[in-house]
Amino acid sequence: MHTRESFRVAIEGIPVPDTLEQEIKSAFSRHKHMRFVWRYGVASSAVAMALAIVLLNVSPTLAYAISDVPLIGAFVRVVTLNRFENTTAGTHIAIETPVIVTAESGEEAIAESGTGQEASGIIRSLNEKYLEESKALYASLLGEVPEIEAGGGHMNAESGYIIKANDGEILSLGRYFVKSLGSTEETITYDTIDLNNQYVLTLPGLFSDDAYIERISDYIYQTMTEQMAGDDGQVYWLEDEPEYKIEGFKTIDANQSFYINVDRHLVICFDKYSVAPGYMGSPEFEIPTEVISDLLVGQDYIR
């Protein structure tokens, strides 16, 4: 006959992973981080046109590379000018900042200043916003380093950009942030820019009225359902779980994250963990244009 003590010994024989504490802390800090980004986003748009820029790092080879290929018309190029990097025994931070270079902004001047301030209008605002946000992110990550080092943990944080379309009419630029601390968090923030009219597109601005919200939501809901039925590994949170006060996916936000891809199709994006478990990453849904064509304001952007 076994005793209570032998039962305890049997359960305690289950090995607990060394990384468990760090994983838990990471899950909670991810939550805090999301709140920080949101607040910062609001503040940064309010002060978008401000501020002296401190240049931290310019690659000397870049000036040469830029002037190699001249830009004409509304075409732009996106380059990396400011790289914030820090490495300790257990941590690595690498933040790359995109700078949008236009024909008009004078490529050599940009290479020299390293800021993209020479561009005008919306491009200049975006360049400034990107640099400000990179600096804030870098400062926030550096602040976490001492505690992680003290606890013997490991962190790898990287930020950079990805271009989804750049055809002389629109530029779709996403800035990603990936942080591994136990588990991995990731966020991608997209800007889709009308280069001729110097305008950052908004989701409501593409449509004549609010009907797009329901139309797109229905399409995504259906796509999620089909994907789940077709493949055991695909999981989206579609059903309410009243017990945990979790609502399943019902509708996109009026200002849901999106970009326009090279085919000029609309792509709707969700943050990691917002509609699916973490292993599903940051889900994206390309919306066939026929699903929304009667609701679009025009055929300028989405075709």
């Binding site: 006959m1 076994h2 090995p15 992973p17 468990l20 055991d232 006060k245």
Partner: protein, 160 residues
Amino acid sequence: MKDSSITILEKFVLSNREALYRYAYGYVKNAEDASDIFQESIEKAIRSIKSLNDVSNLKCWFYRILSNTAIDFLRKNRRVVYVDFLEEYEALAEEESYDALSLEEALDKIPASLRAIVTLRFYDDMKLSEIAEVMDMNVNTVKTQLYRALKLLKMELEVE
């Protein structure tokens, strides 16, 4: 206010992490899935704690999330076939081979729900009423299941 309830949750999870992890492990019996279930339960808990008014039953609430997440996982991975309690009992009654097993082996063999109940009672020191809350059963059912589990595991203990 929201921050304070999240901080309480974080402290609870951190200080009970080994017991919580082992509880999740009991359902899936491998480290990778146990970690996933634990992580997903934390996500669910963070997302919903803002609406949890009574923080005093945090322990039961979190174990319940863990149990349901684990059961969902097993169901999605088709490692569990649902049978009602009676069928489960009859199936167990036929198992005479438990005699030869060590406690660890027997624990791996009994149904996940029995293992969960016996763990909550004798490892996490929960009261029967708390276990009833976690498992969404009435207290009498918990008691019968506990007796059943103890018999299968060859443990001689008072249930209450």
